[in-house]
């Protein structure tokens, strides 16, 4: 455990990506294979679920440190991170009595699952008598699941590739999707032998697009580009396996085929052993439907007949990554597209499978005009893919771009705030934003916590501290005074929100220091944006730290 703790703290202290990468390589070279595999597992974004609940953990700590629970909550609020709070409140022995990372996880962490609360408390107090102060934070990061250490998946793959002397893309494929530390060995992960790959049906790392930041003309001649509409659904890879079986992987690398049985039913009509890259869309007899409709299908395994009928979907194919067992990713896009069209020529029309159409235009001017149809079509703009591009892992500059339509903008007033987390832990940086309703009062329509510079956040924080008008748990109501221009991708009417609308991807566009609260927009304006999309959001969706909705 000590070696891992050292890695954790070093990664936490290092500020340069390359230094972190070097440190990780050093760890993988010296750690035991069992420990190293756990680090791969966690850095791949996995977490141990169901080991403990937050409230439970706070009450155990309160008991251990002989503090009232409210005080532990205050501490959590100040620190912003529960694992760190615990590591500051619980003092272990000066010398560690914990074993390796692997044994600590197997003895102290995994057994917490399935125990009742009293037994969990016993086991955890025992754990606290084993861990040194140095190991407390790393352990509790594993326990509470918030384990990132500033290492992206891409960098994990690079580090492992260096250790094994293989391509990062190979590592990426081996570590993709669902796996556990019991069905893989570290030697398999870094092995240079290709034949040992046990499961060829794992998702390929998704090729991602960068936003067009400059004038689109700077991309050169339009003839070098394949243009498609940018559809708003769930990006996914669809594999047809032998024996009529299909697998669908979301971009979060979760297997989601059980949620979409109408798609896996198409497998017998597809060539064997292929992989399509595409988007799952809400789609009915009337064509494309708003994204909100798709939400009713999310996270629901084995949906019933009525919802399948009411909330039907379609898989819209963009690309062909595998055909008859051959990896096509290094072929130029134009060749892949040709093969994709050949595959689709043989697929019967009644299936919920579609081919993403190519948009033709004589030049950028004509294309710009066509882009204006985006909102009516329910898409987000264009995708621009270089004809010669291979299917890269992740975001590679110069090959794929998203040319999105401009977001909606509205001026909103900060009416309450909460301390942020992580980097912004001691700053009031989570804001509730309001607009004026017909009766002349401010109603909250969005929450946002991104889009300002560090300096601005600090300045807003100072304003908030001076203008607190009330406390509701961690939330502070604030005297109206700050106006932000908020960008969002769309609005839907919602029964769950007091204002009656829910915004998609709200984020702060800029601080309107020239505007007063009275200049903020009205609820009617926002409702106007909602216009056509009159669907009730009922599912309780989480939001990730970039303000994106968590789909699965």
């Amino acid at each position: 455990m000590n070696m891992f703790a050292k890695l954790f703290h070093d990664l936490d202290n290092l500020t340069k990506t390359n230094d972190r990468l070097d440190r990780l390589v050093e760890y993988f070279k010296s750690a035991s294979p069992h420990d190293a595999l756990w680090v791969c597992w966690f850095l791949s974004g996995n977490r141990i679920k169901g080991a403990i609940r937050t409230g439970e953990l706070r009450s155990f700590v309160a008991g251990w440190a002989v503090l009232p629970v409210w005080l532990v909550e205050e501490c959590h609020q100040r620190v912003g991170d529960l694992a760190e709070t615990i590591s500051l409140l619980v003092k272990g022995p000066s010398e560690s009595k914990a074993g390796s990372l692997d044994s600590t996880i197997r003895k102290h962490l995994l057994p917490l699952r399935g125990k009742d609360s009293a037994d969990r408390k016993l086991l955890l107090s025992d754990t606290w008598s084993h861990l040194s102060d140095f190991e407390m934070l790393p352990f509790h990061k594993l326990l509470t699941g918030g384990f990132r250490m500033g290492v992206s998946k891409g960098n994990l793959y690079k580090a492992l590739a260096r250790v094994g002397g293989v391509e990062p893309s190979l590592i990426a494929q081996r570590l993709a999707g669902d796996w556990s530390c019991d069905d893989l060995s570290f030697a398999d992960v870094i092995s240079s032998s290709l034949s040992r790959d046990t499961n060829p049906y794992k998702p390929y790392p998704f090729c991602l697009a960068s936003p067009v930041l400059e004038e689109v003309e700077s991309l050169g001649s339009l003839h070098e580009w394949q243009v498609e509409w940018k559809w708003d659904g769930i990006r996914a890879q669809f594999f047809s396996l032998g024996g009529g079986r299909g697998m669908i992987w979301s971009r979060g690398e979760e297997a989601i085929e059980e949620s979409f049985p109408e798609l896996t039913k198409c497998v017998p009509y597809l060539p064997q052993d292929i992989c399509l890259d595409g988007e799952i869309l809400a789609w009915g007899y009337d064509g494309l439907r708003p994204f909100a409709r798709l939400q009713k299908r999310l996270g629901r395994k084995s949906p019933g007949a009525s919802i399948l009928k009411r909330e039907s979907v379609r898989f819209h194919a963009y690309d062909l990554l595998r055909l008859e067992g051959n990896d096509l990713r290094t072929l130029p896009l134009s060749k892949r597209r040709k093969k994709l069209e050949e595959v689709f020529a043989k697929i019967p029309n009644h299936l919920p499978l579609g081919l993403s159409e190519i948009v033709n235009a004589s030049g950028w001017d004509e294309l710009s005009k066509k882009r204006e149809q985006s909102r009516d079509r329910g898409v987000e703009g264009f995708m621009l893919k270089r004809n010669t591009s291979s299917y890269e892992s992740g975001r590679v500059k110069g090959s794929w771009y998203k040319w999105k339509i401009d977001p909606f903008l509205a001026d909103m007033v900060v009416v309450s705030a909460q301390l942020g987390h992580g980097k912004r832990a001691n700053l009031y940086s989570d804001y509730s934003l309001a607009v004026w309703d017909n009766t002349g009062s401010l109603v909250t329509v969005a929450k946002a916590y991104s889009g300002l510079t560090k300096k601005e956040i600090e300045e807003v924080d100072r304003y908030i501290r001076k203008n607190i008008t009330g406390k509701y748990g961690p939330v502070r109501s604030v005297r109206p005074g700050i106006v932000f221009e908020v960008a969002f991708e769309g609005a839907q009417s919602s029964g769950r929100h007091k204002s009656g609308v829910a915004l998609r991807f709200p984020r702060i566009h800029r601080w309107r220091q020239d505007k007063k609260p009275k200049d903020a927009d009205s609820l009617d304006t926002i409702r106007g944006f909602a216009g056509i999309q009159d669907i009730c959001l009922t599912e309780n969706q989480g939001i990730d730290e970039n303000g994106n909705m968590l789909l699965f």
């Binding site: 936490d12 500020t15 005080l71 501490c75 912003g80 500051l88 409140l89 832990a425």
Partner: protein, 331 residues
Amino acid sequence: MTNILENKREGLYCPAGDFFVDPRGKVERAVITHAHSDHARAGHNYYLCSDSCLPILQIRIGTKAKIESVPFGKRTKIGSAYVSFHPAGHILGSAQIRIEVKGEVWVVSGDYKPQTDRTCEAFEVVSCNGFISECTFGLPVYQWADEQLVHNEINHWWRENAENECPSLLFAYSLGKAQRVLAGLETEGRPVFVHSAVHSFLTHYEQAGVKFPKLQKVERGIDYNFSNSMVIAPPAVEDSTWVRKMKKAKKGFASGWMSIRGAKRRRNLDRGFVLSDHADWHGLLEVINGTGADRVLLTHGNGDALVRFLRETGKDASMLEGASVRGEEEE
């Protein structure tokens, strides 16, 4: 507010002795706990402080100011109040002010730290009826480790940076913290530089018997080769061109606020060292209970949690009205 002390616009006022403690604005008589700028301000007519505080106070408010000083522990009569100074363990010369009127005793703590260190007089618990305590770090997440461990960490960090030919730039408040850090350095022959703000206080610390390693003051307009050196500077210069020129430097900060990683990351530092001149959570409780005071008033920091905690343990505690709720720049 109490029989002995009133809370006025300028700060705490003792009518029996007609003086203020650490006042703002302009008053006739100011009794000063210590020479930090949020306690010792220029502009008053007469000052009273502890003997070892005097030369430092002069640096802060000028030698022309009329300052008298008394040794620790000596009772002085001001009007009908008896006043004495007792070590607060915060910085050199820092004092708690004991005020006795008609047998009732109140103590104004100023900033204090019950743990001893080698740069200032050791804290002394003073029994009293009422205690006005700071509470800069009034949450149990603030618990200080043994001082030597922190010095070891700093020395280790410096050695590591030196091996990579990187200067170690360590931010520390110029009065108190900087001297504490300096006194704990193991140079192993490597050079030590200090910013001029830090330098101005060093002689008085040396006169008080504090030993520092061999060091050099950084002068304006000279280009130094800092390569493997330690540079101590106040956090206020963090954004200056001077610091920006030291491209290769690793940056650290020695402060109690560094307990929380978010505070370190927000400043874009390579390292945070948890070293504070204030009482930690246990220190606050130990001292507040040790004084035997029935009434406790808190100032300096967000004390809501400590007030509630003390009340739940049966103490008559509250926030001092108009108390400064100050953030990170706290000295």
